[in-house]
Amino acid sequence: MRRSLPAATVVVVGLLLLLDYVVINPTLAALADLLLELLVLLAAGAALAGGVALVLRHWTEMVGRRADPLGSVVLLVGFAAILIAGLYPGSSGSTDPAVRWLVAALLAPLIASLFAMLFFFLLGAARRGLALRRRESSLMLAAAGVVVVLLLPIGGVPGDWLATAASWTLAVPIGGVFRGLLIGVAVVTAVHATRVLLAVNGADE
């Protein structure tokens, strides 16, 4: 019973939404809308619960001086700053100037800086990789070097050649591998979804 109830819920909801997608019927559409509203509420509730759990966890770690108390303090201060800026009396929420300033002047530059340091992190990881698996890491570094060469922003005929080669590389080998991965993931997802819809698990096989 404990296993079949969630499976039955998934089957019923999935079939209803699927039917609404292929059949034009006002009653069915209204039912599907109601289900979607419930899903949105569920997602909002899950996000809220996640936020509360995060705060509780870091509060506990900060008070108990476990793990990384300084990191917990930073997280809680940041959390509070955004909440206060977005919820103080008279605030206009996410469009409030205080929230916009926090995002534009602090959050966005911080995340962009972290992303800009990706090269250094990758280089560090590559060095460690060379120590452990020389062949694979060398191949990865060589491929990275080739990509950088192809993207060099130079003009003239060499630039045209590089741009053409870069487009071909992106469209053919990289695109092929990427699409193969996506198709594989899609097939596995479809199989898993079918198993859930049919309530099939390992014990049934």
């Binding site: 997608y21 966005a108 460690r128 060379l130 070097g145």
Partner: protein
């Protein structure tokens, strides 16, 4: 045998610091200094032409829905393209409604709405549809019910009169990079409203995923590389002429020279690391910590270190995934 460096961290820290310093200097180089030998824009303008043809086919004062859900980390790559698209749409007297389905996207949307207002975009031609929760479920709901109850103004009224859903719009411009990007729009909105053209701007990493949708026509146009974005921004700037908005510097295309300097440095560092590995020496790499112990970077380094440093037991070394004394790296447990 060489004397060990008593302060190896100095050498390890020098290269990254030098790289940061040069990149910092390079970032101040303006695009005008690049000269004719440097070119960031893609010489193949087919992607730009596709987008401009789609936009040119729009009716007068088109209603454009902008799905703004980029990732803050990669938004810097496409920001110039996105702002060029806004400029392009403004010149076509478009009316924009901006919606986000991710919190990050909402943060970017708030900033871009503020910028659009500052740069002279008519307030009555802008509609903030805010953040819609619920990810894909929220997007599906928004197909038929998009305008918030609190939304006011002539544009909100026009959308309500046309049904209040996404079908009221002439085109959708999706700015991707986050979890809910152009692919989700094609899957959730394109299948429900097949007559609604969707064009997309996305970072390069998303290009292999999105290119098939462009080929099938599910995306009417796609700009998903820095080069295509630069080509589009250049074409919009060339069509517009000098900026006429006071107190607002025009959005600059990234400097080709600054990028070239950074990329050449990256190549030098990559090449040095590779060569150091190929020659079997420690090369430029400083001491590397793995699980709290010093990891050898090459068989030769391992052979040199083992007698003078702590002895390396074969079993222990293999268990940690380090190269053993016979020169072959052994994979450790995952």
């Amino acid at each position: 045998m060489n004397e060990p460096d008593p302060r190896p961290w100095r050498r390890a820290a020098l290269a990254p610091l030098a790289l940061v310093a040069v990149l910092g200097v390079a970032s101040f180089v303006r695009p005008g200094d690049s000269g004719g030998a440097l070119l960031l824009a893609n010489p193949d303008r087919s992607r730009v032409t596709e987008l401009r043809v789609v936009l040119a086919a729009l009716p007068d004062q088109p209603l454009v829905l902008v799905g703004l859900d980029p990732d803050l980390g990669t938004y810097a790559e496409i920001r110039t393209t996105v702002r060029a698209a806004f400029d392009d749409l403004r010149r076509r007297d478009a009316r924009l409604a901006i919606v986000s389905f991710t919190p990050e996207g909402r943060a970017v949307a708030a900033a871009e709405l503020d910028r659009l207002a500052r740069t002279g975009f008519a307030q009555e031609a802008l509609l903030d549809l805010g953040f819609i929760a619920g990810a894909e479920a929220g997007m599906v709901r928004a197909v038929t019910a998009l305008v918030p109850v609190a939304a006011e103004g002539s544009l909100a009224g026009a959308v309500r009169e046309a049904g209040g859903g996404m079908g009221a719009f002439d085109i959708v411009l999706v700015v991707g990079g986050g979890d809910l990007g152009p692919r989700t729009w094609v899957e959730q909105v394109g299948t429900r409203l097949p007559g609604l053209p969707i064009v997309a701007i996305a970072p390069t990493f998303a290009q292999p995923e999105l290119a098939p949708y462009l080929r099938t026509g599910q995306l009417a146009a796609l700009l998903a590389t820095l080069r295509d974005g630069a080509a589009y921004a250049s074409s919009v700037a060339a069509a517009a002429g000098p900026p006429n908005v006071p107190n607002e510097s025009p959005e600059r295309v990234p400097s080709a020279l600054a990028m070239l300097i950074g990329m050449l440095l990256a190549l030098v560092v990559l090449g040095r690391t590779l060569l150091a590995s190929a020659w079997g020496g420690a090369g430029s790499a400083g001491p590397t910590e793995t699980d709290g112990r010093h990891a050898t970077r090459s068989p030769r380094a391992a052979a040199e270190r083992a007698p003078s440093d702590e002895p390396v037991a074969d079993g222990e070394s293999a268990a940690n995934g380090e190269p053993t004394g016979d020169g072959e790296p052994v994979e450790g447990p995952e």
